[in-house]
Every structure is written in structure tokens, then in C-alpha cells.
């Protein structure tokens, strides 16, 4: 009924601000695709010409391909486990009447504020102490650790928005606890679970310092890119790869936003 009201009249300063804001966020990012099509090994203006060469190099670069596969593996496993841990924890925090819910949220949040490099050191010490060889597995464990709080942050609002009487109605209609979980709880929080997995995957895929400290012989993609930065000639394929990643991220974010339309809450909110 009360769409644009007095106080809500759009104004010119706002549009100017929006333009500045978008420029600030996007101009740096747009440099990657720009130079990824530039026909020169030097990353500098003026642009020379249009080429697909760097994309071709990217596809024929075997170590880069291996690193990509590693990152996808780590991301997939970490996102599934972190979300699984998060589902049960979010369910516990929001549904059961644990004395002192607030301290629990506090405890879950805390690892978020520990600098990645310190977590990396701590995990390194732990792995050394228990004699675990560094490998993609140790990287995955590190990533699960940093993803869980984000999974919780995504899932808790879902479980909070979830109406307890739905589960009671299910029990009332004859379903036991397990049946209720599968037929009511899970379908209703599914969009949140998928959003959590997407978020965790992204975090794992992007993470550098913990992967750097915990990896063995197999590199994840950010570490591979890092190792290539020393050689200017190898930079253009990295730009091509970066552009491809941004394009794929775009699709993933779009999909996760689309998912949020469906389900309990319809408000536009960030995926975090």
C-alpha cells in the first residue's frame, strides 16, 4: 500500500554515491578480464590487441589444472563436512533449550576472529605433534575449521525462521522423530544447507594462508597462483584463470541468491 513515501524519495546524491561505490568495488576486479584478453605479456596500458592466447595457455597448463582439481576436491569435502557439522550445531543452538544460548553462539563465533596465520601455526603444531603428514587432507581439516562458523551463521537464521509447530504438527500426524526430520525439517532448511555449502566451498576455494602452511606436495589453486607471481611471463594465464573463476563465481552467487527466494525468508539478505 505505501510504496514510495515522502521519506523514501530517491535522490541524486544517492545515485552518484551508488556509481562511486560500484566503481570502487568493480574497477580493480575488471582489470583481470581486461588484461586477460590483451595481446601482450606486459600488464600495462595501452592495450595491444585482442587475443585468446592466455586462455589457451591456461587450458594446456597441466600444473594449473592439477591445482584446480585439488582446490575443487578440498572445497567439496570441506563444504560438505562443515555444513554437516553446522546443521547439527545450528539445530542444537536454536531448537533445544540449552542453558545459556548466548555463550554458545559466542564460543562458535570466536574462531572467526583468530587470524588465519595463527590458526595455520596452531594446526601445523597440532599435525606435527600427532604425526600427521601434511597433505590435502590437512588442508581440508583446516578449511573445515574456518568454514564451520560461516556455516553456522548461514544456518542459524534458517533454523530460527523455522516454525517449531511444523515439527509438532508432523508428530501430531503420526510421524516419529526421524520421520519428522526427513519429511519436514530437512526439506524446509534445504535452501539454507545449499547456501551454506556454496559459501563454504567459496571460502575454501579462496583461502590462501592456511592452505599454504598445511599443504604437502599438492598445491591448491591460490598457492599455485602465488608461486607463479614470481615469473612475470606466467602472469597473463593467471589473469585468464582469474577471469574464469570470477565468471564462475558470478554464476554460483546468482544461483545461491535465486535459492534464497525459495523457502522460509524472502527478504533480500547477504549470503553470510
Amino acid at each position: 500500500m505505501s510504496e514510495p513515501s515522502y521519506i523514501d524519495r530517491p535522490n541524486r546524491p544517492l545515485y552518484a554515491y551508488a556509481m562511486f561505490y560500484l566503481a570502487f568495488l568493480y574497477i580493480p576486479i575488471l582489470f583481470l578480464p581486461l588484461f586477460s584478453f590483451n595481446d601482450s605479456t606486459y600488464i600495462a596500458f595501452p592495450l595491444k590487441g585482442f587475443t585468446f592466447e592466455w586462455y589457451e595457455q591456461m587450458f594446456s597448463d597441466a600444473p594449473m589444472g592439477a591445482a584446480l582439481v585439488n582446490s575443487l576436491k578440498v572445497g567439496a569435502v570441506a563444504s560438505v563436512f562443515a555444513t554437516l557439522l553446522g546443521v547439527f550445531a545450528a539445530k542444537a543452538v536454536t531448537r533445544y533449550h540449552i542453558p545459556g544460548k548466548r555463550p554458545i553462539v559466542f564460543v562458535i563465533m570466536l574462531p572467526l576472529v583468530v587470524p588465519g596465520i595463527l590458526l595455520g601455526v596452531a594446526l601445523l603444531i597440532l599435525m606435527k605433534q600427532i604425526g600427521v603428514q601434511l597433505s590435502l587432507i590437512t588442508v581440508t581439516i583446516g578449511h573445515i575449521l574456518i568454514c564451520v562458523p560461516f556455516a553456522m551463521a548461514t544456518l542459524i537464521p534458517r533454523f530460527e525462521g523455522f516454525d517449531k509447530s511444523m515439527e509438532e504438527a508432523s508428530a501430531d500426524l503420526g510421524a516419529n522423530a526421524i520421520s519428522t526430520f526427513w519429511r519436514v525439517t530437512l526439506p524446509m532448511v534445504l535452501p539454507g544447507i545449499i547456501a551454506s555449502m556454496l559459501l563454504c566451498f567459496t571460502i575454501s576455494f579462496d583461502e590462501f594462508i592456511i592452505a599454504f602452511m598445511l599443504n604437502g606436495s599438492e598445491k591448491t589453486l591460490p598457492i599455485h597462483i602465488f608461486s607463479q607471481l614470481r615469473f612475470p611471463a606466467r602472469l597473463p594465464p593467471v589473469l585468464a584463470l582469474g577471469s574464469a573463476i570470477i565468471a564462475i563465481s558470478f554464476v554460483v552467487v546468482f544461483f545461491s541468491q535465486w535459492l534464497r527466494r525459495y523457502g522460509v525468508d524472502d527478504k533480500p539478505s547477504l549470503g553470510i
Binding site: 516454525d163 509447530s165 511444523m166 509438532e168 504438527a169 508432523s170 508428530a171 501430531d172 500426524l173 503420526g174 510421524a175 516419529n176 520421520s179 519429511r183 519436514v184 526439506p187 524446509m188 523457502g263 522460509v264
Partner: protein, 364 residues
Amino acid sequence: MSGNDAYIQISDISKHFGAVKAVDSVNFSIASGEFFSLLGSSGCGKTTLLRLLAGFEAPTKGEVYIDGAPMSQVAPHKRPTNMVFQNYAIFPHLNVEANLAYGLRYDKIEKSEMNKRVEEALEMVQLAGYGKRRSNELSGGQRQRVALARALIKRPKVLLLDEPLGALDKKLREEMQLELRALQEAVGITFIFVTHDQEEALTLSDRIAVMARGQTLQIASPKELYNNPVSVEVAEFIGQMNFVNASVVDVKSGKAVLETAGLGKITASTSKSFVQKGNDIVVAIRPEQLSLRDKPARGQHGVKGTMKTSAYLGDRSHVYVSVEGREQALAVSAQEGTGSVGGLDRGSDVYVTWSDEALILLPH
């Protein structure tokens, strides 16, 4: 109202949440086929009592028997009760048909029989053709019907209803009240209905339990509650009421002489035990039992007052009359068209009259 008079027995049941006694030693029975209401304001324990019957809460003390069987060790999904939730709790990820069929799976019913029963249930609540819709494509009244059908399709012995009409607007609520009552008569099972709306409870129920502070104040038929409330608290809750403080001057052969604050010295016939010489009591009079006249009426009790304000309600008006000796004005319900208030303006003198039988004596 056929069958067993104590079909459901609530035996000394209590439910405490920490220090809060949500339900406090409640005892009563409900007959099979009865439309029974739990009435009270929010926090009175009515919903907790309903949830104890459904099995969503375990009693701190006491036992519920349904058809003779104790229930406290029976899980909600095994009880012969079904519930209509206040917010309807319709599964948003399932369409209407799937919502209705949800509970039938556990009754080991064949697929074809299941479809038949879903169709029947949809027809019963006048939603034939709506089977493929989702919750968010239904209006409030339609959701209420789906919730009702989903519970009744299980053929429960007892249907529990937690303020099912609270979310509907007034016109729709009145319509649904009639439908609900007709439905209950058609299916013939026991309905236990929670509401905070006294008018709704009066309209629908065979009997009503008025609750406050986790206890039942009075359990009676609507007429009995309206005409013979046992306490000021019940009388305050049901309908509109004028209260007059009084002290008993004398009691003789069923007639009490009372000295009142504002109505002067009056007599009332009574057999109630608390009406004893020297006691303070409360006299209650319904607004529709008071009449307005422009001069004192012979042979009737009456008091002179000043007309303060009136509230027009279409078919009747409530007129508020200030009376000396009372802070609160007397409310008088006047029929429109009877002319009794036609000539009266604000501030003019009026006489408020009543008959002896209209007085209800209550303990202080």
C-alpha cells in the same frame, strides 16, 4: 452428546516451567462428542493444557486418560488426538493434497483409499479443486480449512483446536464459527477448543472451562456461565457487567438486605452461603438488565443518575450513567428503536431501574 460422560479425564494435572505453574492441579472430565472450550486470557494455562493433551508437554504431576487409557507414557504420534495449530502449521513445501495425505502414511492405508479420503476431506471443508495449491497460495480462511481437514482425515477420537480462528478477521471468523460447529455435529467427535474470546466460546461450546493462573475458575454451560458466574473474575471475563460493592445488612428467609455503594439500600433473594450478615459482597448486574427511564418507576428498584456518554452499536447502544457514590459509570444496554433513550441528551437526568431477579450476588 452421546456416550461416555468421562471420555477424557484430566486427573490432578500440573505442569511447571521452572517456578511458573502453567497448569496447577486441574481436574475435570469431558464427555465424548462434547464441544468443550478452554477460555482465558493469555498466560492462563489453556494452551499448555491443550499441549498436555496432545502430548507435546509432559505433565509435572497427574495423568490424562482418554477413553480410560493413561496417556503420559504415550508419544504424541501415537495418541488418538489431532491438533489444529494456531498458525495452522501447514507444511509450506507440500501442496494441499500432500499436506492432507501426510499423516495417512502412518495408518497403513492403501494408495487408492488414501486418495479417496483426501478427496472426501477436501470436499468436507469446501476446498475441492484446491489440492494442488501451496500454503502461500491460500487465504487465511482456506488455510484454516486445510489445517482442519489435515487433522480430521486422521479420524481422531479427539480434535484439539488452539485458537484456530484467532488469525481471521471478524466477518470471516463469525462464518467459520458456524461452519466449525456444523462440522463438529457432522463428525460427532470430541472437540477441545482453546480461545481467549469469550463471545466465541459462548457461541460454540457445550461447556466452557474458564481458566486463570493455571487453574479452572468455573466449568459450566455458556448459559450458566453468563447467568450464574461464581466469582467477580469470571463475571468480568464473560460479557459486560456492572459491579457494585455492597455489605449485607440482614438476611431473612432467603431475602438479603444490602447496603450498596451508589445504588442505595436494596433487597435480593439469595441462598448463597457467603451472603451473611456483616459480610462484604459484590452485586453484579448485566447492562441489558438495566433500563433507563425519565422518571422513577413505581414498584421497581431504581437510582437517579446523569447521562454521561453513549456508544452506538447499530442494533443497540451502550449508555453510561454516572451515579452518586460510584466512581465508574453504570453501563446500560438500550435497544435501538425502543425509544427509551430517544429523548435523552448528555448531561440530562435519568433513572436507572432493574428488577430483583437481575441481581447476581458474588463473594468479594
